[in-house]
């Protein structure tokens, strides 16, 4: 299953590279969102610095709706999903490849947004860069796992562009809370040692939803 997932992931990365104009558009969208937050919320720099974590994750969440939706659109053109299914391909490998691919894409976006955020909001890194990377990775994984399942479903329903965020947003509230809190702590320091609890929550969320995704995804794609 893992080797199949690897082959599929490579295919997706190759496709992303081939259509990288779309990737650029995604990056600009996320950057624009970040900028808009500053304009909407005013130039008070202390306030911006304090809530930087929140803005970052909101920008990522909005961008994820676009990227998640796209990840299955490419399989719908020419019914490629059926083509894969009938090889045969293990549906769980398909889930893994899509979810990991989405995670990588979001992580890439996060890393692009990070320096912009630091410049715009004047934040500093209080804890190690490794902790920040860890939190970013966990958060992106948390959005991608259920996002992949929902994207596969929403793509076959009407009003798919509205359905995906409607389904995804309430579900990942815990992950969002934890990711924002953890990011803020990493940026501003963690005097009371709360980081472990929030990282713990994020990890638990990931464990549950990657597990559920693996278990339920086959039912989603099979006819």
């Amino acid at each position: 299953m893992l080797s199949t997932a690897w082959i599929l992931l490579n295919k997706d990365l190759l496709l992303e590279w081939r259509t990288r104009a779309r990737l650029n558009a995604l990056v600009f969208f996320a950057l624009a969102t970040l900028l808009l937050f500053s304009f909407a919320l005013g130039p008070d720099s202390t306030l911006l610095a304090r809530h930087a974590g929140g803005y970052l994750w909101l920008a990522l969440l909005f961008a994820s709706v676009l990227s998640l939706g796209e990840s299955f659109r490419v399989e719908q053109e020419n019914q490629c999903l059926d083509g894969l299914r009938l090889v045969p391909t293990d549906a769980r490998a398909l889930f893994l490849s899509k979810a990991v691919g989405n995670t990588l894409l979001l992580l890439f976006l996060a890393l692009v947004l990070l320096p912009v955020m630091i410049a715009l909001y004047g934040v500093t890194l209080s804890l190690s860069p490794l902790s920040l990377l860890g939190v970013l990775a966990l958060g992106c994984m948390a959005i991608s796992a259920p996002g992949t399942v929902y994207s596969a479903i929403a793509n076959h329903a009407r009003a798919r562009d509205v359905l995906l965020p409607l389904l995804l947003f309430p579900l990942i509230v815990p992950a969002l809370l934890a990711a924002v809190k953890a990011t803020t702590l990493v940026l501003q320091g963690d005097p009371m040692g709360q980081l472990t609890s929030w990282v713990g929550l994020l990890s638990a969320f990931n464990l549950i939803y990657w597990g559920l995704g693996l278990a339920l995804f086959p039912r989603v794609v099979e006819d």
């Binding site: 399942v149 389904l167 809190k181």
Partner: protein, 237 residues
């Protein structure tokens, strides 16, 4: 058989209304006022049972969803559909009552109380569930995908609960009415049963509507001889 069922349904509804009447009297007049909040607390006699019914609905929806994935049957699918809708109804009702309670006690309609906040998040999740059902036309796909959604949403309830509680615990401590007086407990129980009867009556009616809709969607043309005895409501594969 059909008449027996019908009278049972009616009986359940009547029982619910009657018990609700008794419960209302108990809650509004019979039970003593709260030490701290006075008479304002009395709204819990409807607020709490509504929330409980909503949670029961989520649980039944989860069981029906899991059941459907194990063995496809329109019965489980209809049960899932009806509990989601009725659960949403009771949930919104309970949430609004919670907000009405908030105004005199906290001074604001909404202060991010963990329980109400978690409930609000879950209500949006189940609204999404119903939206999904509405946006998928193929009945079989609709059943499978909403079952998947039902499972994912239910598993989220404890996670949402914990995360919102942690999130809020950093800011303030929650206050709850001390429901220690035995009369209060009794009044709450009576109201809870009233809500349960009404809940069951609603779910049953909604279930019948769902089944009727399935029948209409999947109605077999007269020319085909392979109409199964129940009109195709039991899937053979």
């Amino acid at each position: 058989m059909e008449d027996k069922r019908r009278s049972l349904r009616l009986g359940l509804a009547v029982l619910g209304v009657v018990t609700l009447g008794v419960g209302a009297w108990m809650g509004l007049f019979w039970a003593p006022p709260d030490r701290e909040m006075g008479d304002v607390y009395r709204i819990i006699y409807v607020h709490v049972p509504a929330m409980w019914m909503s949670l029961i609905a989520c649980l039944v929806n989860f069981i029906a969803s899991v059941g459907y994935l194990f063995k496809a049957s329109w019965k489980t699918d209809s049960l899932a559909e009806s509990t989601a809708e009725v659960g949403l109804l009771f949930g919104v009702f309970g949430l609004v009552l919670g907000m009405l309670w908030g105004k005199p006690t906290w001074g604001v309609y909404w202060d991010w109380d963990p329980r109400l906040t978690s409930m609000a998040v879950m209500l949006v999740a189940y609204m999404g569930y119903l939206a999904l059902r509405r946006f998928i036309e193929d009945p079989e796909k609709r059943a499978v995908w909403s079952a998947v959604l039902g499972i994912i949403a239910f598993m989220d309830i404890p996670i949402v609960w914990y995360s919102v509680r942690w999130w809020r615990s950093l800011h303030q401590v929650q206050s709850t009415p001390q429901t220690v007086h035995p009369d209060m407990t009794l009044a709450l129980r009576v109201n809870a049963f009233a809500f349960l009867f009404l809940f069951l009556a609603f779910v049953w009616s909604r279930y019948r509507i769902a089944q009727a809709n399935r029948l209409e969607e999947l109605a077999l043309p007269d020319s085909l001889p392979d109409a199964a005895a129940d009109g195709g409501l039991t899937r053979t594969t």
